[in-house]
Symmetry: C2
Subunit: 405 residues, 2 copies
């Protein structure tokens, strides 16, 4: 397997487009409508937010993907169409218009929205934009689509891989948007994946679920689980491989590819968390089991005090132990080691739950890098988990202090 | 019952002192050692952090208060003595020295610490400071003690009430410190209460627990539950009332007083949360029961996105509904109303889960006040809960980005 360029339009038979239709009013030239279409019907699967308050397009996509089939995805940014007047009606209008323009049935179209909650969506602009987007569809349109789903994201999030499946070369690509209101429980913000692999729809659903669990569900920017989280995958079979219909070598290869792309996108989301200056990777190893390692790692990962310390490049490891302590997991604090790692080196700061007399200058150097690892070692068993987040900064507060205007 | 001046030294027979002994090195004149002493033995009770990682003084106070008796409290700020080398040994030295100087047994002394985690405490400075503090003990020393337990707190937190108990005038006072790493689960930061009421120790413990549950346990600054949270109460009986030994009118009166003082201190902690510019009160009414109302209110109260919106005086109520949605509670989002209230008026922004076309200028005016109420109405039942927090600001990030230096 190797990483390649091209994102969602790297796989054979996928076209995409992204343009500005008018949902984003404050930044009039920013793209706000994305369209992703396969040349032929696809196996399809999705995972969605666990938030009790779900946006209208989430309900619609959940319904349309239930039979494991779809052929297109339409998505706007700038308005989440959540808790908004006429939400269901407008989400359905997006779906119907897309189907009409592409010559598909409405149930073959999946819908996504992201942006502010509670405002009526500018459906006229979207309905007018959909035919324009269809006209712009191209095998180079992946980047435009990636831009069109961004909100406060600073960089587009794209990944694609190429791998072998039963002697055939298969490609898999994805785009995602993240930034704020990010915390697992489905979960991702928006992520759209495409592949030309031939794969049974039940298998596709299983692989997607397994990969989301260890990638997007291990990212936290701020502990807020969004109303709109959606991850969709379309597999059109154009690579010509023998259909992946159950577990085995092909299943493993496809899953490895999905995991590679979703993990890459998840890490990009963490690194580009709202206001973030650095990517924070938190690894807990030696816990009794993986679930426990994950609970401890996520508790560290979402602690505002750990996140602000990372912003300040301050080796305040006591907050790491403190966050483990309120995770709800049982453990012996006196059997915990804590260290920090980065491109600038590594430093152990706590052994057996007690502070070491470490070199503060070196710690500052290690923590001043753009990518920092918090490395927690326990001595209970073999359970290991890694999750990703970012620091908590002035800019997070700035961005979210006045998001709607 | 009426509020009075004097804090912990308002009740008869209590003396206190606060001074700088040298634990705080960066602010050399700031007080860092507090001593609170009763003229006679007291009934005593405490509640402590539920964090799995507990500071050494927490374990010591838990042990010493177990028999329901104590006579003095010694507390330093500037170092939490948590995860620190020689933690137990040094906490015990604080206890023994205080007992020796006051002519008490070590088990009559309760110990608190607050400050940075993981650093060896300057026990020499404390041991030297304890006799000085004992010399300074006075019936006017409550304010000095309140100052001596502060860390990043901007204002001291003091409250006292006077009330009748079986025909006798009784007083109850308290001091607290809060600021960061504040989230219920015991829970308070440090709070020391004194009263001259005569009360059975089991009754005292019950009243304290009940009051902490609806006051300190309903405050969240940042979702981080500290390693050092401790709330202690000493009751010396000098008011001469008939001992409160079970439920009844006296029990209710004493509980009302404890609740008044703890709630006042809890609100002061929320309003003075690290970096806070405003007090945020969140009320959920009409839920199926109180537990559900509380879970929903706390989820709103700790959402970074709600807290940053409050900082920006932005009526972004979608985040309120979103935070309710990921609380884990089941409810119908279409049966939720949201409004904002303050001294500048009140405004409804969401009815039946859908945004209203509200007056943004008025909303800005309402939310620009120093004390803002988020008012959520449901239509399920009679469950109501109120909790307190603060906005999330640049200064929270600043204070915590480099706390140790």
């Amino acid at each position: 397997m190797k990483f390649i360029e091209g994102g969602i339009t790297a796989p054979a038979g996928f076209k995409a487009a992204g343009l500005h239709c008018g949902v984003k009013t404050n930044n009039s030239d920013k793209k706000d409508l994305a369209l992703i279409v396969s040349d032929c019907p696809c196996a399809a699967a999705g995972t969605f937010t666990t938030n009790k308050v779900k946006a209208a397009p989430v309900y619609l996509s959940m319904k349309n993907v239930e039979n494991g089939e779809a052929q297109a995805i339409v998505c706007n940014s700038g308005n989440a169409n959540a808790c908004a007047p006429k939400g269901e009606e407008n989400a359905y209008k997006m779906c119907v218009k897309t189907a009409e323009v592409l010559g598909l049935k409405p149930e073959q179209v999946l819908v996504g929205s992201t942006g502010v909650i509670g405002h009526t969506i500018n459906i006229e602009a979207i309905v007018k934009g959909i035919p324009e987007a269809a006209n712009k569809l191209s095998a180079d349109g992946g980047l435009d689509a990636a831009h069109a789903i961004m909100t406060t994201d600073l960089v587009e999030k794209i990944a694609a891989v190429e791998f072998e499946l039963g002697g055939k070369t298969v490609k898999l690509g994805g785009i995602a948007k993240g930034s704020g209101m990010i915390h697992p429980n489905m979960g991702t913000m928006l992520c759209f994946l495409t592949t030309d692999a031939a794969v049974d729809k039940a298998v596709l659903k299983k692989i997607l679920k397994e990969c989301v669990a260890v990638t997007f569900n291990r990212v936290s920017v701020d502990g807020d689980t969004s109303t709109n989280d959606t991850c969709l995958i379309l597999a059109n079979g154009m690579a010509g491989n023998k259909t992946v219909s159950g577990e085995g070598a092909d299943y493993d290869a496809l899953k490895e590819a999905v995991k590679a792309v979703t993990q890459t996108l998840a890490i990009k989301i963490a690194a580009d968390g709202e206001g973030a200056t650095k990517l924070m990777t938190c690894t807990v190893s030696g816990a009794a089991d993986e679930a426990k390692a994950l609970a401890l790692a996520m508790s560290i990962n979402k602690s505002p005090l750990v996140k602000t310390a990372m912003f300040g490049s301050d080796a305040n490891w006591g907050r790491v132990l403190c966050a483990m302590g309120y995770s709800g997991e049982d453990f012996d604090p006196e059997k915990v080691d804590v260290g920090f790692k980065s491109a600038a080196g590594e430093i152990e700061v706590c052994r057996n739950g007690r502070g070491l007399d470490f070199d503060e200058d070196k710690a500052l150097k290690v923590l001043s890098e753009k990518e920092v690892v918090i490395d927690v070692k326990m001595f209970e068993g073999e359970g290991t988990a890694t999750c990703w987040g970012c620091d908590l900064t002035y800019d997070y507060v700035k961005i979210n202090g006045d998001y709607r205007t």
